[in-house]
Symmetry: C2
Subunit: 439 residues, 2 copies
């Protein structure tokens, strides 16, 4: 074989991290707390208890550096193919004629299709343990909804998923997968909540938004003490659960003797980027690395590059606390032609703070150029990426091309957050030329 | 963690086999040779040269025990995630309350979606090396067509795929994937060949069959010296290329100290079963194991359990040699309601001979019971299998249930030949109750 030695770096099952890493412990300065939208006072833990179980609330507010991963969660992460592989995109490098080395962390190999299982498993576990019988949630592109349905099934609780109607219509296979895992899925806005019915009356042709779907999911959770709400991104505990990605990556980089120069992840609410980068950002804070961190967003919902850093609601209806974050506004609805994912109006407060403090840079791309990058990746590496992941790939390709021009032998690492097997309609539009710019 | 130690057995990149194993070297008695359908004499190598390049023909006729895998083929197999993982279906065992241990070899983790890449890569390599500019092929469920398109793209040659019309209409995403990998795909019978046009005239509403699609692909290959034909199953060289599965498995069983009692694979043309089992059948022939081998077919095309062992054509139009095999007849068309894959009328001559000599048993299932097994697997293991693979899962579940009744702690190993992400319409019909028996 002529492949480089670092073509693939694996970890043993026993090397799965035993603790999650919490960036809140190390980020200089205090995080601005979530506020009660009615009083504009910091939210007390008990005010969140209609939405979340106690252990989740505790994690959400924690500033402990490391938090133990329960054994049963680790067992199920192993079932979902963790630790995940770090692979070198050797054929892509050759295609780009770049002196840079390109690596990618493979969250696409989870049977749930993306990184979303990392937190879905943990949230289902804690809620099942707390005696909750149903979790409600929203989903945009659908990765989170299917992951939560599968995870709830593993812990014998129910999942009710509100899927943004535009995506629901565009991606019919998400419904099949959710139902195969035993979940219930409704297009949002729906007739199953008061808010949905009211919204539909005013906007009967609405294609929906994540903000609306979150409101619907929260409404059901608030009405029934046996029902809690699960969020797939944005909140601190979600970022925490995702850090298995970056903790594994650190071990793998050590093993393969990789010194990263640029680490790249796509951002919608920020969860795969956070999980992938936070353990290395901790090293940056300590002065142990010069690595740059790049968050790649969609021009269809550019909260960092096109929004403001301020307090905003997490949902459209106002059921969630106010979060200090980058936002394009909680009533924002992305263009209906958008198929590229990453459609949330706000950004994780932890990611936002890391941006504000200068640890993370951001860039935004239009869906057309990201699908083009995805096609290049599929043709060279054989893997069809999720549209979200295509944003990270596009940025990695651009960086590798810059290296070709400057001759720099940088090590570029990106997070392949998921596969695109359930997002093929977008690729079809791209291939037949009917896809439009969504920026 | 409370998981058993053998939950996952991996091999390093360097442990990828360096040679393929050829069962023709060890099967007692001589294989009956392919015959020229016009003369009924054994086919001479040069008679195959309009369809295949020389190195493929040599492998097809070889009785050498081991054949070197070229370095460039091994490189690309690594890119397609080989060696593949051997996983224990621990949650499925618990669900079935069986004392048996159930393991599965994960061909579903290839980015090409199934085991088909193992031979697609090799065939694309040899043809590219021979200066061929285009490979034509047939595909039924679509796994082979997408794998060949991706593999041809890796070696810079073209792929033209004739997909059985019934599947083409039922699985629109296969077209998108084939085109994303740079391939061309036509529903068969098509207007792109003489045979297709003639067949369509007589049967304008034909849903097609693999036999018809093979005829169309062969016709294009025979008309142009720069075009060759690639078959995804049945022939000896295809079985040979698939033995990487079973050779890896042998190493993994040694590593994890697994003594297999039953090895189970689904069979259409026989390629994943052959690749998975032949290296262990060699041990059985030598008297080194008591392991049983079970080939699981579809009741919609039951060549072993419902057909005859005789010479038959490989295609409908008569372009291929006559093969000595189990067959339901080369003009057989599976029921139009069939969504379970495994629709080929004949069985690999090597698999057929292994059946006749008593090394392999066979069983057939209806699609309804196999989709039910697939649902159970998805809910317990989180993985949505290809409909073909569901046949092997159904047989493994039945064996595990027998073990529950007898108390036997058997080690059951099956081949998970592919994932079902592009076969969700079948699952949808199963879930909504509209799926019909296809036997």
């Amino acid at each position: 074989m002529t492949l480089p030695k670092d073509i693939r770096t694996s970890l043993d099952v026993e090397e799965l991290p035993k603790k999650w890493y919490n960036l809140a412990a190390d980020l200089p300065g205090r995080l601005k707390p979530p506020l009660n939208p009615k009083t504009m006072e910091p939210v007390r833990p008990d005010e969140l208890s209609s939405l979340f179980c106690d252990k989740i609330i505790k994690q959400e507010m924690s500033t402990e550096r490391f938090i133990n991963i329960p054994g049963e969660v680790r067992d199920n992460l192993v079932h979902l193919c963790r630790p995940s592989v770090l692979q070198r995109a050797y054929r892509l490098e050759k295609h780009l004629k770049t002196p840079a080395k390109i690596y990618f962390k493979r969250e696409d190999m989870s049977p749930l299709g993306s990184h979303k299982g990392n937190t879905a498993i943990a949230q289902a576990y804690y809620n099942a343990e707390a005696g909750i019988h149903t979790l409600t949630t929203e989903t945009g592109a659908g990765q989170w909804g299917t992951a939560l349905a599968a995870s709830c099934n593993l812990f014998d609780i129910k999942a009710t998923v509100f899927m943004v109607r535009g995506s629901y219509d565009h991606k019919p296979t998400r419904k099949i997968v959710t139902e195969l895992y035993g979940g219930t899925i409704y297009p949002s806005p729906s007739v199953h909540t008061e808010y949905g019915r009211k919204y539909l009356k005013e906007h009967p042709d609405s294609i929906g938004s994540l903000g609306i779907a979150i409101t619907e999911a929260c409404e059901l959770a608030m009405k029934d003490p046996g029902t809690c709400y699960a969020l797939g991104s944005v909140l601190n505990h979600v970022m925490l659960h995702q850090t298995v990605i970056g903790l594994e990556l650190k071990e793998q980089m050590k093993k393969a003797e990789i010194e990263p120069d640029v680490m790249i992840g796509c951002v919608g609410g920020g969860s795969n980027f956070a999980g992938f980068s936070f353990p290395m950002i901790a090293e940056k804070i300590k002065g142990n690395t010069e690595c740059e961190f790049l968050a790649v967003e969609s021009k269809a919902a550019p909260s960092i590059t096109g929004g403001e850093y301020r307090y905003d609601l997490g949902d459209t209806g106002g059921f969630t606390p106010m979060l200090m974050m980058h936002t394009v506004g909680h009533d924002y609805v992305p263009p209906s032609v958008h198929a590229g994912g990453l459609r949330y109006h706000g950004m994780s407060p932890l990611v936002s703070a890391a941006v504000e403090q200068g640890y993370v840079n951001a860039v935004a791309y239009d869906q057309l150029e990201t699908f083009e990058a995805g096609e290049t990746f599929a043709k060279t590496e054989g893997i069809i990426p999720a549209p979200e992941s295509n944003h990270a790939i596009k940025a990695a390709i651009d960086e590798a091309i810059r290296c070709r021009q400057t001759g720099e032998e940088k090590s570029i690492i990106f997070c392949l957050s998921g596969h695109g097997m359930l997002d093929l309609n977008g690729y079809s539009e791209y291939l037949d030329g009917s896809m439009k710019s969504s920026s």
